[in-house]
Symmetry: C2
Subunit: 670 residues, 2 copies
């Protein structure tokens, strides 16, 4: 049954966007980033509407309002910018505005008798506005009241149509009346839509993954957190801002895996950092071979000094000798023979990993303990967590955890490592993860990249799923990198760093172009650091470090690359050439990227830009400044010729510089 409280409410808000599942999940923005809200507002007949976007921090009682502007097709628009990370709510209100209706109709009226009668109607409406101003009662309101009363009197006193029109349509007076609308019959969007505002690094970040145990200055020695600290200058020099470490906890000894995932481990094998826990401690301890908690804090502090921060990997699973297994046997499932159920996906068995039984009746204690793991590391100064395989733990747990941690620490960022089906990745992003790994590693052709990044930037996830693109990870050495050589590494680096505002590499394997797989058809690295120490000759002269450094500088200097909103793809007549642009209108910053996707051959072709979309005048030349090579090209119009030789550099990263004045030097390009 439709219940109607007051049938006189004629304004209708038919939709408010963005909204995730009608407000079930929060829209995400970062501090300083605008949220543009569109409301579809309707009224029967011809009356004038007014609409307000309203918003507030979640804990605040009072709404702030921004007047919405009509944008055609019954859509009303306004934008808000939250300056601080936190949880917010927003919505809309709309009402039929008798004063605005009167004024609009008055302007169209023609016959004199009609104008005189309409002036009486208007004077009455203005007196009502004056009364409301009087009730509001501040000095400004009382001044408004007096001016409105004078206006009404003037309107009542006039007779001549021209005078009537001049008085009635006075803009300044109308602005005063508009400050005191009659909102008694306003419609309010029934849901207070949630908005999560993260700090800017949730939107724009450059990650570098490294294994501290491989950071020793000499080959063969087990690296430590202190060695990782020494490596920070190198990483900062590359231009990264997030240094991500695999789990730093004690590694299980029972069922430990050996080199190249062999079973059983040989004496001296260091084991996988993801097999967490031993008698030396569990998820709140530091692996003794890496150092101490104090070393970790020092690492965090030093990263901070260098403008970076440490991200920790949280993998919610246990080695068989993790202290939880004996302290909380009820958190694990038993097999009929009484042993603890290890992870399995028959016929595969992962006997070195005990998953938690999230269906345990003791789930609340388990959840609280797992929350305390995050809180523990937050206590050490960590604010970014890369969560290992979140899709193998309950969705409801993550929603609860991220909500609690996020409320206590609005600066915490969670990256979901879920390489799984789209619906699962979207659900994790919807329930709160700040960033998500992507399928980028497996998107290689122009068609694949265009479809996928168009979907990421403009598809249904655009308001909640922030992609983080990685060309490689310790688990993913793609065929492209195995066989494409230096050009493939360079191209994949440029693609990741320019297609996605968040990106990362697993180094030094990446910049040293490590490319040998364990076996044909595998994406596992041979002699993977996951199971053994490696020594990385980071000073090798052929390292891609200079290109990495340059790309990261370009990202820092060009706001267009710090968001995915302004991404668009353009046609090329050579399928091996992909062309796209990112544009930041506020900063008037536009980057056009062209990449040769074929690491073996030079390719040339015509690209066709959408000049209007890029803010480039059709009839004026513009300069394309290649930020990789330094070369500058004078282009004109939409169609332009490019040629890329992967032997030299498989990409252009072109900054658009428009002429300020027609007959000036290039120095005057913006």
């Amino acid at each position: 049954m439709v219940e109607v409280a007051d049938g006189r409410v004629r304004a209708v808000i038919a939709a408010v966007a963005p909204a995730i599942d009608g407000g079930r999940y929060a829209v995400k923005r970062t501090a300083g980033e605008p949220l543009e809200v569109v409301a579809v507002c309707l009224v029967d007949g011809h009356d004038a509407l007014r609409a307000m976007l309203r918003w507030r921090p979640e804990h605040a009682a009072q709404w702030q309002e921004v007047e919405m502007a009509p944008a055609g097709d019954d859509r009303w628009l306004a934008r808000i910018i939250a300056a601080e990370p936190g949880r917010y709510r927003y919505g809309a209100a709309a009402w039929v505005d008798a004063f605005a209706t009167w004024r609009r109709e008055f302007a169209r009226r023609q016959d004199a008798a009609d104008l005189r009668l309409a002036a009486q109607t208007g004077a009455a409406l203005i007196r009502e506005a004056a009364a409301r101003a009087g009730e509001a009662g501040t000095d400004a309101d009382l001044a408004d009241r007096d001016r409105l009363a004078a206006w009404a009197a003037a309107l009542e006193g006039a007779v001549d149509p021209a005078a009537l029109r001049a008085i009635a349509l006075d803009e300044a007076a109308a602005a005063i009346a508009a400050r005191h609308p009659d909102r008694r019959l306003e419609a309010v969007w029934p849901v207070e839509l949630p908005l999560t505002v993260d700090r800017p690094r949730a939107r724009f970040s450059s990650w570098y993954e490294l294994f501290p145990r491989s950071a020793a200055p000499v080959a063969g020695r087990h690296g430590t957190l202190a060695d990782a600290l020494a490596r920070l200058d190198y990483v900062a020099g590359l231009g990264f801002d997030v240094v991500y470490l695999p789990p730093v906890h004690p590694i299980g000894r029972l069922q430990r895996k050996g080199r190249n995932n062999s079973v059983p481990a040989q004496p001296g094998d260091v084991g996988s950092p993801w097999a967490i826990g031993s008698h030396e401690g569990g998820h709140k301890a530091v692996h003794p071979e890496l150092g101490t908690l104090e070393d970790l804090r020092r690492l965090v502090a030093r990263a901070h000094e260098l403008g970076m921060e440490i991200a920790l990997d949280i993998a919610l699973q246990c080695a068989p000798d993790h202290p939880y297994v004996t302290a909380h046997p009820q958190w694990f499932r038993r097999r009929p023979d009484g042993t603890v159920q290890y992870a399995e996906n028959p016929p595969k068995k992962y006997e070195d990993i005990y998953p938690f039984d999230f269906e345990t009746p003791d789930w609340r204690a388990l959840w609280n303990e797992l929350e305390s793991v995050f809180e523990f590391w937050i206590g050490q100064g960590v604010r970014i967590f890369r969560v290992d395989n979140p899709h193998t733990k309950p969705f409801g747990f993550w929603e609860w955890l991220i909500d609690r941690v996020g409320r206590a620490h609005p600066d915490v960022i969670f990256l979901a490592e879920a390489f799984t089906r789209p619906a699962v990745m979207h659900q994790l992003a919807r329930l709160g993860f700040s960033q998500s790994y992507t399928y980028f590693a497996w998107r290689n052709t122009r068609h694949e990249l265009t479809d996928y990044f168009t979907e990421l930037a403009h598809g249904p996830g655009r308001d909640y799923l922030r992609p983080n693109a990685w060309p490689n990870t310790p688990d993913i050495l793609t065929e492209t990198l195995q066989y494409g050589g230096r050009a493939a590494f360079a191209a994949r680096l440029v693609l990741a760093a320019t297609l996605s505002a968040n990106y990362g590499i697993y180094g030094p394997a990446f910049e040293l172009m490590e490319h040998v797989a364990r076996e044909p058809g595998s994406e596992e690295y041979l002699d993977s650091e996951k199971y053994q120490l490696r020594h990385w000759p980071i000073e090798r002269p052929d390292s891609l470090a200079p290109l990495v450094t340059l790309i990261n500088r370009i990202r820092r200097e060009n706001p267009a690359l710090q968001s995915n909103d302004g991404l668009s793809f353009f046609a090329t007549d050579n399928e091996q050439l992909i062309c796209y642009a990112k544009r930041c209108e506020e900063a008037d910053n536009t980057i056009v990227v062209v990449v040769d996707l074929d690491p073996e051959h030079a390719h040339a072709g015509w690209i066709e830009l959408d000049l209007r979309r890029l803010g480039i005048a059709e009839d004026l030349p513009y300069q394309m400044h290649d930020l990789l090579s330094g070369a500058r090209y004078l282009w004109h119009g939409a169609r332009n010729y490019v040629r890329l030789d992967p032997a030299r550099m498989p990409a252009h990263v072109l900054r658009v510089r428009r002429r300020l004045r027609r007959e000036q030097d290039f120095d005057y390009f913006l």
Copy 2:
């Protein structure tokens, strides 16, 4: 704050579709028409899910359930068919099924010790299912209990891997266990989504609008409802099933409009039926010149005998002499001079129309009275209302009204006459109107028709906005019809009747090809029936009546044309040729339509069908039977040549007849 009642609930329902605004408005179907529901159901890890679509009549306490089937990408599907019009609710439930998980993993296990342990786990699960069967307690359940207990025992007793596997994977036993799942930790979609089921005519109807006052057998006499009754045989002969009459109420005398909308009316001018009310009565009275209420009931009854029904036009507005104006002065707005506010859109004035003031404090009495108008005509046997300009009355009023009337009379159909902006039309459809007029009259080119009908059939309104396409109305004589001659009338008829399952014509103006506008640039008919009597020579030899009759027969005989779901458009290499198909899979009925959109010239070209979509084999010939001309063409493959000469007939309406056996006569075509 995220509150968690039971953290062990691991199944997640991430989406249920269709749903209009998350369940704020009802999805629409007709009795016997399937509703296919898709739920996105997820669980962490690899466990097996089961999902149920649940539904019930709104007044029923008990849900009925249909098991959903996985359809890839975490989507689960099921369909329901409501046999009776009414209000329903639907939703979904999903749970992690330990038994199904066990069985799936058992099938993949390899080593013997593992199989033996897994058999113990399975036996325990089966015993739990047996216990649940025992609790359910019907005879069938108890039989299940015993068979499950025996199964568990057999499983516990086996040792040999082959025997274990044979017992564990017994299909029949698994089916029994599946009847008794453990649903204690199931997830339920939180919204009980509304579904409105109308009778089939809401989806498939053929309307004929006529003015009873022009139905007199002799020119110059005011026609009556009795004359309209005599005309019903003609309309039934044309094949229509809804006869729609403009308002039948007394016509106001004050401010009456004369012929061709002239002011003032001359003596003898009959006035506009939309200027409702005089001392003779208002919205519940019959215009004395048309006859009596008894005549109206006779008309309704006779239409029923002929397989048709009468639709009445309800226009919620008053002539100045409507009884409401004096009886309920508070329902009208006053001007400052004390006169009643007439309708206006400055500088235009409609002094013959007083709109209701829906912002009156007495709104509830007004709403109740207006509801009683509908109830009054329902009491006379009317079940279809064409609502005049609903977008000039509050949306909230219509939502309330349609809800109340619909609950009391689930067979009532409301057609919204709102030729206005898309958002407004969609809102009216969302809040409950069963059918909507469309922009069809102004969509002429291949591109326009393709875009618009693709949007109507497959766009966001597909689950709530049922289009009703009219080539003409008393208010709309398009340029196409003014200047296109017979071919334009024929083409527009075929387009309306095949693109839209609901369509209508305003006759006899349509079949007699009335085409002179009041003035150049106007879409008003010269000497419009809206303001004067007309006499229609329906027996004129050039009438389009035979084509209308044929088209309506084709619609009745081909289920594909009775819905818009199966509409798809195909490429043609001549822009003046539009080609599209409708397909009904259940009935294996496919209609392909080709129309020459240029009424002046013959056009030929190649069309390219999507054979897969039409269920036609790539490698077999098929027959195209032109239901308009009777011709039969043998086609093969996707590309085929067509030529249409509008001087003969501007369209093919082709029924696809596939061969049953390769070497048979055409008589064996299906």
